[in-house]
């Protein structure tokens, strides 16, 4: 059986989250390159998952799906996109069987394969066929592999138990701390999908054991790029390929195709399948960009040399053959040298950017300097000019990626060098000034 791919669901959710309600059904389907029928089917499946996972959305409510996944800050404790990772399809009999096996092992019980088989057959609803021994044994093998159950030490027949020491051994108070820890780390660090899953399971467990009147969700994260979670779908297969030095093959949709965009008037992000390009590259690094909340893959392409891909544009990823260690090391060294001075991922010529930052007027706190120190990466403050201003200097590959950051300081930042950047800044401020001219 072909491996189930979630590319469609990921593209779908990304578009829904980013454009939140901008498109009609038809426009949405067009931009994804799918039929209205497929659009409806996808929505139906996603709704079903959300309903099962959160049990809060009766269909009759008629709430639009887009509404459901719309981001609302004070209601953002549960990650609304996590349900994507619950989308793997499973036959009814299989989900019932596995849940019966796990239920039988609750409360620290240890059981043999045959005892588990009996428990499973005895509780299987009449309309579903009872499993045979081979099936149960293969389920147990799978559950052991994913670390959900463990074999007890001792002679045959082996006894199995749930690998849920976390809830068995920790006190209620400790579990609450663990829940908070998972919440904080999943929200502030990458990768996070496993953290959100752990948080989710702990939350359900705490809700079962705590009184109704307690408020479990206490934390908020300001300016969190929550849609970054969607790209973690590909992260682990790419990291595995890097570890094994394997090439990857994928269909790539470049998010920036200005020309094709202009002629076709479609959003380049969501072009039709047929415009994707097949790419083969040796993956070397995965980059998470905190400025936009986006992911990139950096690698080596036999024809193009160092290549950069936006992860959101990568679909149908497949592993290819391994490359020799020596070759990989060589590309890695080359890539590291070329990106050592990248504000994000630019591998352009290295230039020294110098800018003067002005202290805020009449503020008790020098928040401009604080922000430069916090966000200025490896740049240095080279000269403090009394109470008025300071000089900041950084060597970067190209000026394109640092420019928005410098501009975000408004008139508190004056670019001194290089001259072309200074000129570009002036031109851009002139254009912006034009936008806001009183008519």
């Amino acid at each position: 059986m072909a491996k189930e791919s979630f590319d469609k669901e990921i593209q779908f959710l990304r578009m829904l989250v980013l454009t939140s309600g901008a498109y009609s059904r038809q426009q949405f389907a067009d931009r994804l390159g799918i039929s209205i029928h497929t659009f409806d089917k996808t929505i139906k499946k996603l709704k079903e998952i959300v309903n099962a996972v959160y049990q809060q959305l009766p269909e009759e409510q008629g709430k639009e799906f887009a509404e459901t996944v719309r981001y609302s800050y004070f209601d953002s404790a549960d990650h609304m996109l996590l349900f994507l990772f619950r989308a793997k399809s499973l036959k009814e009999t299989e989900s019932k069987r596995i849940s019966l096996l796990l239920e039988a092992l609750q409360s620290g019980r240890t059981l043999t394969a045959m005892e588990l088989m009996d428990a499973c057959c005895g509780n299987m609803p009449a309309e579903l066929a009872p499993p045979d021994e081979k099936t149960v044994r293969s389920d147990l093998k799978y559950l052991e592999e994913v670390g959900v159950i463990r074999k007890e030490p001792g002679p045959r027949p082996y006894r199995y138990r749930l690998a849920n020491e976390l809830v068995q051994e920790l006190t209620e108070e400790e579990l609450l701390d663990l829940y908070d820890f998972a919440d904080v780390m999943a929200n502030t660090h990458v990768p996070s999908v496993q953290g959100y899953m752990l948080r989710d399971s702990l939350k359900k467990h705490l809700q079962r054991t705590q009184e109704d009147t307690v408020t479990l969700d206490a934390f908020l994260y300001k300016y969190h790029f929550y849609s970054r979670l969607l790209d973690e779908a590909h992260l682990f297969s790419l990291l595995a390929a890097i570890r094994e030095r394997r090439k990857v093959k994928f269909l790539y949709f470049s998010p920036k195709k200005e020309t094709s965009y202009a002629s076709r008037n479609t959003n380049p992000l969501f072009e039709r399948d047929t415009t994707g390009k097949e790419e083969v590259a040796i993956p070397i690094k995965v980059v998470y960009d905190h400025q936009y909340g986006r992911w990139y893959l950096l690698g080596f392409h036999s024809g193009k040399g160092i290549v950069k891909y936006r992860m959101e544009g990568m679909t149908q990823i497949q592993e290819g053959e391994a490359v020799p260690q020596e070759q990989f090391e060589q590309h890695l060294a080359q890539l590291e040298a070329r990106t050592a001075r990248s504000w994000l991922i630019d591998t352009g010529r290295t230039v020294t950017v110098r800018a003067r930052f002005f202290h805020p007027v009449g503020a008790p706190q020098n928040f401009i300097k604080e922000r430069v120190q916090l966000q200025g990466q490896w740049g240095r403050i080279t000269e403090e000019d009394g109470a008025d201003s300071f000089l900041y200097e950084i060597e970067v590959n190209g000026t394109f990626e640092i420019r928005p950051w410098l501009r975000s300081f408004g008139s508190s930042c004056e670019v001194l060098e290089p001259l072309h950047l200074r000129k570009e800044m002036i031109d851009e401020w002139k254009e912006i000034a034009d936008y806001y001219e009183p008519v």
Binding site: Y23, Y71, A182, L198, P360, L374, W405, S411
Partner: protein, 294 residues
Amino acid sequence: MNPFEKIFNYQLMSRLEDSGTFMVTGNERSWLKAMLQHSEAVQAFAPGTLAKLESLLEQDSLMETAGPLIQKAASKELQVYHPLLRQLRRSIMHRNQIKLSYMIKNGRQHEHQSGVPYKLEYSMVKKEWYLLWYHQRHRSLMSTKLQTILAIQDMPCEPERYIQLTASIEALLAKRSTSAVIQVVETYNAELSRILYAFSCFEKAVSYDDQLKSYTIKLTFLNNEAEYVLSKIRFLGKRIKVTQGDYLQRRMREASSLALARYGATPEREKGAVTATGMNTEAQAKAGADIVPE
């Protein structure tokens, strides 16, 4: 392991939830094991818990990410945990009131202020924790850095009283909510993805005019967040234009003219009207005044 394993299937999850079965995979434990290595993990637990967790996870592998996974343009990580989080989250959880003493900017202190804590907020930009609380005497919403808190005392709160206070908080939050409309300048429609990603950390609604091929983004935020919204707007520069929101428009107008004054340049339209060879004193005094703390 693939994050789409069948063990995470939604029907299976909901059956386990119904029967009250707790399930955790090796993958989640590997993640946890890696996170527990963070130097601030010790602050997240009572003494002894961290060691207990480490021994429970002894058999699990450590999730390896460093090396091939790199992060760029992040703020320096000043703080991930704060020692007061555990106490304050419990105050919120048990719906208590608190008496709070804290430092304010000019070095003075406020002592024994009664309030209701409602959320703990982490700023991903400043990498610091804040307590969001309702100041009972001033009837106002407060945001206090945990770093500046000197003492907290928990006070039980009658459930009816708590409901009233929560209603006041909600009403104040609703009052502080404001919005602005931002248009994607059509020439930059091709950069829509970049623009939408940049705004994806806000509450927003996007609309698209099929005839004009024009995208507009309506952002909703609390009025004390306007500074951060402005920094994002300046960040995106000429790609976007604020079309509704007097305050943001005025600030962008000021920012552009003051920035041009810094460079000794003038807006296109005023060329010839003023010959600015450098910044005049008035402009100098004003420049930088367009930026206030986020």
